[in-house]
């Protein structure tokens, strides 16, 4: 787990948290980020409602240890509530102090039960219990922190009568730990004691201690809508949340719906908002529309049918343009044609003169015997073995045809688009005699409703003048919704009848689209698409044309599944070499 960046990119939470909960208890939770507040001194606490968890996306002030450890401690605590908790308590006529104490007892109860199953949890939580005995005056806050510690740690010594009584009652109730009613009963009583001791309990300043514990919102069913007339604790808690709720701010910034509706809890999830008004996508030349889900890393699930791929026909260009571009690469083409033919040759080839192999090579054996008879050292390499070759994979070359491809990179004399076109042409030309399963497709997007997809050469189509004309007519505009294009290409490829299926992606940078402002969103979606493709037997490899995008490319395709090109003229050669390498 890496520390999330704090430079304004606060919604990213490490992915280990929900898996940890699943590993412990076998149920799934949705982990969302609780963003930082403007006021860093306002105490933040994790929160849960049903199986939705909100965890601080950055380390809290004054919390010891590493941030990942803290997240796991919080997850372990909340998941203990989910596993061992009862239906939510009713507030009825309880005072704020009683609510706080009942919650505290409930925290201790579920933690005890969870630690009985997983003893190591106790050690996970221990570092966050600080020693509140030296806090000076006995305030409600310090006494509650001391009680929390006393209920957690049997070795802890506390001379305060109220804390000792709380611990004693709690431990005596051991047989009833399975029942949350115990906490309600003890908590009400202890709250009364606190009142009689004239100890002040200021609900406004109260933040649950220790800091890994949730803010108790998920434990209580408030009688009335927590509004102006709510009890101090409730209204304080709720206002705090509203301040932290990032939705309104992000709505102004035009965040995708994806990021918006995750802020709504499961219990009051907004119906999906209708798509924003937008100019209808150009329907000219649209041959087919397919909808695909999109992965939202914040809610860790798919948004079904979220994106639409529109297949466009290609306006042909001049095929002579392709032939002209290829003249530069004549020597490479020769070499690649040869290797492609070698790859295509699936006849078993014998490897002779081996020290060890399947069969004796008769002529070599006779030579060895003759050599020995004439007292010369015999050549011991008398075996042969037959080598079988795997058939070359079905290959789909997927080109990112977004606006940025029209750029002329520094030091180059032509656009990225031109280089990509030549590279595709060289690949298709070199492979045409070897007749592999090859398709060349491209995509560019204009929001989630219009992911344009074009087929320059499809499987089972010859690479003839018509295909060359389509390739020549290739143009680049709009954006890069990579994940959806990967899904569409993956579907196409998965349907091929081949032993191996390879999706070779050429892109010049990070995925992006006009309706997405969180740079991580499309990266995680593309990563998910790659994983889904792999599941259906399609492996992916990416050629990146921008060394600056290495991090996101590695994230999407995985280490070892990408190559970065700094020298653009090398792309045609490299692409064909990659094909040979990946096919062998």
């Amino acid at each position: 787990m890496t520390e999330p960046r704090r430079d304004g990119n606060e919604h990213e939470l490490p992915g280990g948290a929900s898996r940890f909960v699943r590993a412990l208890w076998g149920f799934d939770v949705t982990v969302c980020a609780l963003p930082a507040t403007a006021n860093e001194f306002a105490a933040r606490r994790p929160r849960f409602l049903a199986s939705n968890l909100w965890l601080p996306a950055s380390p809290l002030l004054g919390v010891p240890g590493g941030y990942p450890d803290y997240l796991f401690a919080a997850c372990a605590h909340i998941s203990a509530h989910l596993r061992f908790g009862a239906p939510r308590f009713l507030t009825k006529s309880l005072k704020p102090a009683q609510i706080a104490i009942i919650s505290l007892l409930e925290d201790a109860r579920v933690e005890r039960l969870a630690a009985a199953r997983y003893p190591g949890l106790h050690r996970l939580w221990a570092p966050y219990h600080r020693d509140a005995r030296t806090d000076g005056a006995k305030t409600g806050l310090s006494l509650l922190a001391r009680l929390a510690r006393a209920l957690h740690d049997d070795a802890y010594v506390d001379d305060d009568a109220w804390v000792s009584k709380g611990r004693q009652l709690f431990l005596e109730g051991r047989r009833e730990w399975h029942d949350a009613a115990l906490c309600r009963r003890l908590g009400s009583a202890l709250g009364n004691d606190l009142g009689q001791m004239r100890v002040q309990f200021n609900a406004k300043d109260y933040a649950v201690q220790p800091a890994y514990r949730d803010d108790n919102t998920g434990l209580w069913q408030f009688d009335q809508d927590p509004g102006e007339d709510a009890s101090p604790l409730e209204s304080e808690g709720v206002r705090r949340v509203e301040r932290e709720d990032p939705a309104p701010k992000r709505r102004e910034r035009g965040e995708p719906e994806a990021a918006r509706s995750r802020d709504a809890s499961a219990s009051r999830r907004e119906p999906e908002r209708p798509a924003p008004e937008r100019p209808a996508p150009a329907t000219t030349g649209v041959e087919a529309a397919t909808r695909y889900p999109e992965w939202d890393y914040l809610i860790r699930s798919e948004r079904p049918g979220f994106c639409t791929v529109l297949e466009h026909s290609v306006t042909p260009g001049d095929p002579a343009r392709i032939a002209a571009a290829l003249t530069r690469y004549a020597p490479e083409q020769k070499r690649l044609e040869r290797s492609a033919l070698r790859l295509a040759d699936r006849r078993p080839t014998p490897i002779r003169r081996l020290l060890d192999g399947d069969r004796l090579e008769l002529s070599a054996a006779i030579a060895a015997i003759v050599a020995r008879a004439s007292a010369a050292p015999p050549d011991p390499r008398v075996y042969r073995r037959v080598r079988f070759r795997l058939e070359p994979p079905a290959l789909l070359l997927l080109l990112d045809l977004s606006q940025s491809l029209n750029a002329v990179p520094r030091g180059a004399d032509t656009t990225l688009l031109e280089v990509a076109r030549t590279a595709s042409a060289l690949l298709a030309t070199s492979l045409r005699n070897a007749a592999p399963d090859l398709a060349i497709h491209g995509f560019s997007s204009n929001g989630r409703h219009d992911v344009g997809y074009r087929r320059f050469k499809d499987f089972d189509q010859p690479f003839d003048d018509r295909a060359r004309a389509r390739l020549a007519g290739m143009s680049a505009n709009l954006s890069t919704r990579l994940g959806t294009a990967l899904r569409h290409a993956g579907q196409t490829l998965a349907a091929r009848n081949a032993r191996r299926k390879l999706l070779l992606v050429v892109t010049d940078g990070e995925p992006s689209d006009i309706d997405v402002h969180d740079p991580q969103y499309l990266i995680f979606d593309a990563k998910q698409a790659t994983i889904e493709n792999r599941r259906q037997g399609v492996s992916s490899f990416c050629v990146g044309l921008d060394a600056g995008a290495e991090q996101s490319i590695e994230r999407i395709f995985g280490a070892g599944n990408y190559a970065l090109l700094t020298q653009l003229e090398a792309l045609p050669r490299r692409l064909a070499q990659l094909y040979v390498r990946l096919s062998a």
Binding site: F20, W25, P68, C75, R359, L360, A365
Partner: protein, 268 residues
């Protein structure tokens, strides 16, 4: 093949195996009926140990072949060798087993190419015949000869599967990780760990198995638990042993590693 050489394949001491259900009697019946057996199940759940145990029980030599893509028919059948100026035929493991009445165990059989596996076809129907084209010879299998194969349906993609014509020659036994109490017992037997620690290691495995399909292709196997236990017996701390034997071998994904490491700490 001389009797002494075959003796090397005999299993002298009882291999420890804790029966999970009725697999021992089922295998015994299949052996009596000379029905080839396929063992299915996740890696490290005890398939190979089971075969060793059954070979010992039935008092048959056990010849094991770990299958791989490079394996050719002659790796199974045999080949001519050159010796003292003359050629000598050397039986391959399958031929040796068929001649001498051993149990031949093809481990991870789907890893072998399908055209290699067809050599077992005449052996596995009522003909029980093995043909050696290189010697122009056909061997009638020894009455005690028995063929067992194993494969793991989990992580193999649709690409790697047995031909139906191969599959249908076998009776199949499905294996899975042992139930909690049994796995604790196995772990204590194999590593002599105290019960409390064995229980905790099994909890780690159970936690990881819940992540199968949620990022993990396979959960922590019984074999991996035994590895962890052996490291602990060498004096390694439980957490370090779990890291080395359970967490790190399982995945390279940093999120999963952190989730698994936290689960280890929660369990220990």
């Amino acid at each position: 093949m001389s009797a002494e050489a075959l003796d090397a394949f005999r299993i002298r001491d009882e291999p420890y195996y804790l029966a999970l259900a009725d697999e021992v009697s089922l295998f015994g019946a299949a052996y009596a009926a000379r029905l080839p057996v396929m063992l299915k199940g996740p890696t490290g759940c005890g398939k190979t140990r089971f075969v060793q145990h059954m070979a010992w029980r039935l008092n048959r030599p056990l010849i094991t072949v770990a299958c791989n893509e490079e394996m050719s028919a002659s790796d199974l059948l045999g080949r001519y060798l050159l010796e003292d100026g003359a050629t000598r035929w050397q039986d391959g493991p399958l031929t040796l087993a068929a001649r001498s009445g051993a149990i031949c165990y093809l481990d991870e059989v789907v890893e072998a190419r399908q055209d290699t596996l067809v050599v077992i076809h005449p052996l596995t129907d009522d003909r029980r015949l093995l043909s050696l084209p290189a010697r122009s010879e056909a061997i009638q299998a020894h009455p005690e000869f028995h063929l067992v194969v194993s494969h793991n349906p989990g992580y193999q993609s649709a690409l790697k599967d047995l031909k139906p014509s191969t599959k249908q020659r076998f009776g199949a036994l499905e294996f899975d990780y042992p139930a909690r109490a049994q796995e604790i017992e196995i772990l204590m037997h194999e590593t002599a760990l105290p019960e409390a620690l064995a229980e905790r290691l099994v909890s780690v495995a159970e936690a990881a198995r819940r992540l199968k399909g949620h990022g993990l292709d396979e959960g922590i196997s019984t074999r991996m638990l035994v590895h962890a236990g052996s490291l602990i017996r060498q004096g390694i701390g439980p957490e370090a042993a779990c890291q080395m034997a359970l967490v790190q071998p399982l995945t390279d994904d940093p999120d999963l590693i952190s989730a698994l490491s936290a689960s280890v700490r929660a369990c220990l």
